[in-house]
Each structure stands twice: as C-alpha cells, then as structure tokens.
Amino acid sequence: MMLDNLLNVLFPASHDTQVEKEGILYGTARYGQGKTAAVVGLVNRTPLGVEGALSLASHVLEVIRHSPGRPIAVLIDAQSQRMRRRDEMLGLNEYLAHLTKCFVLAGQLGHRTVGILFGSAAAGAFIATGLVQDMLAAVPGGEPVVMDLPSIARVTKLPQDRLEALSKETPVFAPGLAHATPIGAVAEIWNDGDLATKLAMALDGLPGAPDRRDEIGAERKGRLKAAAVAKRVAQEATALADGERQRMPCTDR
C-alpha cells in the first residue's frame, strides 16, 4: 500500500503528516472517537542511518515531552540499517540503540506504541522501528526480512532450492510475513475489513505492555522453545536462591 493511501485508510477522519529527509515521517492524526495519535515512521524504503535514527528519535522525544499519554503509531517501509563505513565509524549501534530506548521509554511513560509494517523492513532497522513496539501489525505489502535467501545460501553454503524447500517446513529463517507471524514477531495481520477500527483498538491498548511474544510464538507453534527456556532460567535461578535461604541458620527466632 502507498503511504498516502495507507494514511487515508488508517485515519479516515484526518491526518496531518509530513516526510522529511532520510524518509522520516511525523505528524498527528485523529482516530476512534475524536482522539489524537502521534504518527511517526520510516518510509519510502529508506535505509536507517545515523541521521535518520536521530531524527526519528527526536520526534518520539517530542511526543513524550509535550503530549503526555498520546499513543504513537509507527509506520514502517524501510530497508535495513544503512551500510556505510562512515555510519559505523560514528557509532550507528549507539544511534539505533538510542532510538529503541526512546520507543521503550515512551511505552513505560504511558504512550502506547503500535508499529504498522506496510512495506519492507530488515535487520537493524526492523529491530529499532518495528520489533521494539508494544505491538506490531502488518497490512498488505508488509514484508519483514532478516536476510534474503540468496545471502543465506551464501553464508550457509546450501543451495537456494534446498533452502526454499526447507523454508516450507519451518518459519525460523526465511523472509516474509508468513514466517514472522507464527513465531510471534508480528502480532496481527490486518488484511481486510475496517483497518481504522483495528488500529484504534490497538492504539487504545496497554502502554508498555509485557513482552509476550515468546508465549505467542509457542501458542502459534512457530517458536516452540523460547518461552519455556526463558522461564526455566528464572526457575533455576529462583530455586538456587531459595535453597540457599533454607540452608541459612535462623537468627531472628
């Protein structure tokens, strides 16, 4: 879906947004019964470099500072992180980390964050704009990629047709929405019906909602181990501490 079309469908009442350099989208929109959402994003299939990450972060901080409690819709049609020596020299990892912090902080401070994937998104850019939100939905055209199959073939030294066959058996490595959803990365796919209503419900959800994606992946049978392994670590850690407490002599009785 094209950006203008998407904005009209998601926010039929009104929206006032612009795209500045580095493909950074920002503005506001009306949703639900006369409520206001902040709209930010990374669009026009732009890679995310140090300037873009900083600019997007500044719009998120602006919302936190001046519009308490306002939910944030994050529209995404990106590439990967920008692959330039200069960006890495300047510490792109810190810029992407900073952007993720701004989104997580927004959630913790009462701003519900909803990612809407309407194009591509890959690797570091996907982590810092899509996978960091309280909830991530995909609309037609949404196509998450970690790495394309030819590149995976090169690294794994497996023929591409073998990889294609494998990707039908497991969602764990191949690109695409059909694989991102069963593992819990994408919470909902909004294919048809009233997208504006679906978005309004998502925006009214809990800010800073607990990260349940591993449990969702287990429920959807796309990621069977993660939730159980994470829980077991905590159980073993707690059992160790409990055992030590029991062995300690009681001094207060």
Binding site: V50, C102, I127, D214, A230
Partner: protein, 308 residues
C-alpha cells in the same frame, strides 16, 4: 586449582573461551550455571542444516561472585557458530534478564560477556526476535534498578544485533581487540562494494570498529587491557557511576549523539575525528600502549559521560 586460575587471569580475554573467562572472572567455585550443558538444551534448528549443535547452544548463563559480590552473568562462546543469537541461545539470556528484572532479591548487576557476529542466519527470524526481546528485557531490568554491563573483547567481536544490545546496556567495557558495529566490514563490502569498505584493510577495520575508536568517541565507557583481570577491574570501576534508564538520561544521550554528528559527521576516517577532538598525535593512537591510551581517553570530554 588456585594456580590454574591464576594462569587464566593473566590470560588474554581475546584468546580465552567463554568458560575460561567465567572461571577467571569469578571467585573460585562461586559459579552456578542455569540450564547447563548437562541438560542438553540444544538448538532444534541446526539439524535441518546438517550442522553440529552445542549442548549449551553457545551461551552460558548463571550466577556467581566477583570479589565477594553477587552477579548474574551471561557469556557467549564466539567459537560456536560465531556466538550468534539463535532461539535457545537468545532465550537463555532473555530468561536471565527477566529474572533480574522481576526478583528484587536477585543480584543487581548483570555482566554480559558479548562475543557475537549477530543473528544466527540459520535461525534468522527467531534470532532477530530474540535480540529484540533481549533489548526490551535489558531496558526493563535497568528501569527496575539493575545494572547491565557489556564486556566486548572476544574473537567474534560484537556485531549486528549484539551491537545494538550493547548500546542499550548501562555501561560498556571494551579492549583494543574488541570490535563493535551493526553491519560488519565483510557485510558492508559484500553489499556496497570494496570501495565503500575494504574488509581486508585491517588497520582501517580496527580504526573504524575497534575498541580505541569506540572508547574515544564515548561508544564505550571503560578501556581494558586484553586480560581477564583488566576486564574485571574496568567493569567494577564503573559501578559507582551508573546512569539510570529514564527520560533525563535518554535526553542527555540524544544531545550527546546530536553533538557527535554535528562535530564529526563530515569526517571520513577516525584520525580526522581524533584531530577534531584536539588529540595531539591522532595518527599515533593505534600504536599507543594501553596505559598511555587510557590516560588520553580519560581526559576526553566525549569519552566520559553519563548519557547512556
């Protein structure tokens, strides 16, 4: 036993395995591993690619003591699949961080011995999702008052999602051998061409992603010699100045990163940055001893901050 450990302590962090780092970093006999290799919690996915598994999936998580102080710890094994994040590997770290976040009686310090090429491509989707769950858990743990310290100096460096995770930690310790970035040099060369980044030009690689560059720019908070003793001392020297993860810190970080772009955004190579920082002999940085380098780094405004 004591002698054996003393030997490890002087050992190169770079050369040591993950288990050797733990043995020498922690007080003798204080470590308890969670989901240890005897549990054989292996990757369920590598078999599809006819690849051998590791019984710990390339990461060790547990609890121990450093100089009689309780810590939680995770150590990646860079020699197994490049220390990459797969489903089980990532989930062990997620579990450790969530435990620290949720249990007020858990140790308040988490050490992350990062040694990773990033996401494991054979498990790309679940590995990337694990990275984002780890980021979320790091930040939530920090918000609950937990200190998370990244230690970077291993063979695999700290790349891809690992670099972003490090940037979310309370503090970062790095050695000269420690390299960190998002896209690694080989990935940039493959995608953008050798004129963009010649990954075989070792000096260029080191001064773009290496520990000295990161430390001078403020991308790392302490610089360690390449020994396990030095990493321990550097990490503990940071503990009395830990930034809280809150709006004020994030705004300060924003200003810091904006200023970096403003001052150095036009530079083409690291020595240009060092020159602009006012360092007397920028071309000699690579050859400085650890001690002299540390003195220079400690005197730089950009390198020493509470904005992380």
């Amino acid at each position: 036993m004591k002698n054996a450990l003393a030997k490890y302590r002087k050992w190169s962090w770079y050369e040591a395995t993950a288990r050797e780092r733990i043995a020498a970093l922690l007080d003798s006999g204080s470590f308890t591993e969670f989901i240890g290799p005897e549990k054989r919690e292996i990757s369920p996915h590598l078999v599809l690619f006819d690849l051998p598994e590791a019984f710990d999936d390339g990461i060790i998580v547990g609890r121990g003591m450093v100089q009689s102080r309780q810590v939680l710890l995770a150590a990646q094994e860079g020699r197994f699949m490049g220390g990459t994040f797969g489903e089980v590997h990532g989930a062990k770290l997620v579990g450790l961080l969530r435990y620290a976040r949720d249990d007020q009686d858990a140790p308040r310090v988490v050490l992350l011995l990062l040694d990773t090429g990033g996401v494991r491509l054979q498990e790309a989707n679940v590995g990337e999702l694990a990275v984002s769950e780890i980021i979320r858990a790091v930040l939530e743990a920090r918000m609950a008052g937990v200190t998370v310290i990244a230690m970077i100096g291993g063979r695999a460096g700290c790349f891809g999602g690992g670099g972003i995770i490090a940037g979310c930690c309370s503090r970062i310790v790095i050695s000269e051998q420690g390299r960190t970035s998002v896209s690694g040099p080989e990935v940039i060369e493959t995608n953008m061409g050798v004129e963009e980044f010649d990954s075989r030009d070792r000096p260029l690689v080191w001064r773009t992603t290496g520990g000295k560059t990161r430390r001078l720019l403020g991308g790392a908070d302490a610089y360690a010699e390449d020994s396990i003793d030095s990493f321990r001392d550097a990490a503990f020297s940071l503990l009395d100045r830990i930034p809280a993860f809150e709006l004020d810190t994030v705004e300060k970080e924003h200003a810091r990163l904006a200023q970096r772009l403003e001052k150095f955004g036009q530079c083409h190579d690291a020595p240009e940055i060092w020159k602009a920082m006012g360092i007397a002999e920028p071309d000699g940085i690579a050859d400085l001893s650890d001690e002299v380098f540390n003195q220079i780094a400690q005197a730089q405004k950009e390198a020493n901050h509470d904005a992380r």
